[in-house]
Point group: D2
Chain length 252, copies 4
């Protein structure tokens, strides 16, 4: 067995960061060498001998954190939001100056959710009909969920590329809203129900058959296997990878 | 074992009527004594010695058919649409003159669908949240389905009677239609997918738990157990019963 | 609005008891007047002026607790296990001496679970086939779950009473265990999966249709609405009621 | 638009063959030039000018049919069973002598089923737990279904290759059969229910999340999109391909 990865967690006092501290600490192939919160100096990472960084801080500091890591040859796994095109391009340039260093920026670390989206996009090429149902707790303020919108966009792009026609729909009269929202031609329905957390179903239908891909997310803990997978893989993937699916073997 | 029921089917050349002919014929406790189509004379029922009538004809003839049956003391199970309040009241009066004769008029004979609606109404008193998803083939022209609208109305009435507050919903921003249609305060979502037939889910949620009532209808054959149950019960229920749920033991 | 119920929680230091303390405290129509743990004297209930007691203690003390409450004319809602036939009969006798006092002993306070079981029993009279799938976390040591066994027994009893034949099954060759466990003639399948909590599906099938009743339990908090419903109802139901379903309006 | 494919259907009088005749006839990019049943001479294919053959005949004649097609440079899509290793190896040799000719032999043409199996195998590398539930009509004589057994084998092979541990299971006491059949270490549950056709669910669970892949097959018609996809692709894939998944783009 190889030496454990030496991991520093940035944003360790946030809720996700605290989960990451626990997960890294529990992983037998990793060593938690530093856990930095707001105001802690980044140099502490170097002093602790970290080779890998997990950034789960805030949009205002994530860019500085990651650039600091890359400049010092540390690999980084990043779950903080705020990485727009300009910031990612700038980071790509910095990585070109530090060959051998890898960074993963992932908007979503839940393996099941990432897999479900990828499978949905693949399957959407082969089915006549596709719709999305997302279900969340009733305190959510936006509808549809961001994940559902991205899944719809991904599906629409695959269907366009494969030349698949729009899903058939003979609806002539409807109560306002019955057929859901339409995102890039894909119907999306948002359910809000006490007791739920975060759930999504992609329904695909063809003559005489149906394929359903459902993901249920019950707990923030579901992100940790993806974070650990990122840490175990990032050193072997120099440069910038965007999206955890880039690290998954989706075909055969 | 008692003597088989002597059953006449009216509207026997229609699709539902043809199914009923087969179902009555196959039932060991029934005897199919007549099967009348368009243009056949109603007197044939009497000549055949029928004691029970199944009417699956068309709105234009169902009232004449049923009144003829009742006048001659035959029990009737009716699946034809078009029985508005005035026609039902008039029939109730006719039945009062023929005590001992029973009529069942049912807008829906699928046992599973009738049970699911009744259960949904019962459960809706006890849960904080409730929403409906109905899923049909893409050739359906209206949304939501009539069954979903009736289920929503039934649920809303039960919640109002029990003093249950509206389902919680913190949605502030939504894409048009994301949260579905709203029927008497209940959110209803309509999915259209190739390969499907007719399906409905009622989702009920409370703190830490969810109850889901799902009905799948694959085939017109699903109406026949309800028709047979109606035939076996109608003689013991003089007067007019509206809705198959009136014949089901829903409590304990 | 009437005066709030004055409630004492027994077993308040246990996990369920602690939930009950929170739930009673949060209910606007109740006042938490006492919360007793191990070793506390029962007289404190009287001193606090309680009119209602929730017992979520341990099998060794629940009988003393409830008999004490009844003797002093307090209504009791009981979730502790261990109430065998002899203890319940003895309690019934004590209640006869204290007319006007009510006790509810409920093996399960999750409204959704109680409703799902009741609905399953009702529906099982009307469908040709019925099977049960229960799904739990992988740390569970027994299979099937106690709830699934009780649901199967309840279903079997209803089908026997209604004269329903056994579910059809043409299986000739099977891998050992493929068709599940058989409880009173009902097939029960136990799934164990990381990430799950406690879930159950009753599947009912007839010609051309299927009815599915699913209950998902995510959290101990799901028991509290049932406990509060019990507290609000118990004073109007003198004597002993066994099972929360006795307080629910299941028919129409 | 290119010229339509000239397709001959072999086994056209069987149930699957009859569906294929209808599907090829309805496809705007194909021309049905021959439909052969039992006893018809294979030379008719050549006389009709076919460039593609669909073989849906019987095990006793499929090898002769396909070898005849290959020898004459016709591409073949084959759904008949009975192609053991020896026959496939012999066909591979014949194809080597006819470069440019393609043959697809597929045990399953339902796109949704093939995709669900492939997705299940991929996802099984990333989840701690996995189990299979298959649900069929009650006239089925074997349990589990062949598809479920193959899915379990596929999943087990992927998990072994990826070094994934067995699904956790703390079961100590169980009623016989409760935990299902075990195929290569994967638990498989078989439900039999009136009203169902052929359905399968693969459930994958990790800390705080669940992924469910469900396929519903309602009708033999569900095989035809796969047959047509095979016909459209086979000319571009010289040699022998086994399994429709070989023609699907499963990754990105």
């Amino acid at each position: 067995m190889s030496a454990p990865l030496k991991v520093a967690v940035l944003g360790a006092s946030g809720r996700m960061g605290a989960e990451a501290v626990k997960a890294v600490d529990a992983a037998t192939d990793m060593e938690l060498v530093a856990a930095l919160g707001r105001g802690d100096k980044l140099e502490a990472i170097l002093e602790a001998g970290a080779t890998h960084v997990v950034d789960l801080s805030v949009p205002a500091s994530t860019e500085d954190n990651v650039r600091f890591a890359v400049t010092h040859g540390l690999h980084a796994v990043v779950g903080t939001t705020g990485w727009d095109d300009a910031k990612r391009e700038s980071l790509t340039n910095l990585l070109a100056e530090n060959p051998g260093t890898g960074v993963l920026i992932a908007p979503n670390f839940a393996l099941g959710s990432v897999l479900a989206s990828a499978f949905a996009a693949t399957a959407a090429r082969y089915f006549e009909s596709v719709e999305i149902i997302e279900l969340h707790h009733p305190n959510k303020v936006d509808a549809p969920s961001g994940t559902a919108v991205r899944t719809a966009e991904l599906i629409a792009a695959e269907r366009a590329a494969a030349g698949v026609a729009a899903s058939p729909d003979a609806t002539e009269t409807q109560l306002d809203g019955a057929r859901g929202a339409v995102v890039d031609g894909i119907h999306v329905h948002s359910v809000r129900l006490r007791g739920l957390v975060a759930h999504q179903e992609v329904l695909l239908g063809g003559e005489g058959e149906q394929l359903t891909l459902r993901h249920d997310s019950y707990d923030r803990a579901s992100f940790m296997p993806g974070v650990l997978l990122g840490l175990r893989t990032v050193a072997s993937r120099p440069g910038l990878t965007y999206g955890l699916d880039g690290y998954l073997e989706l075909g055969r």
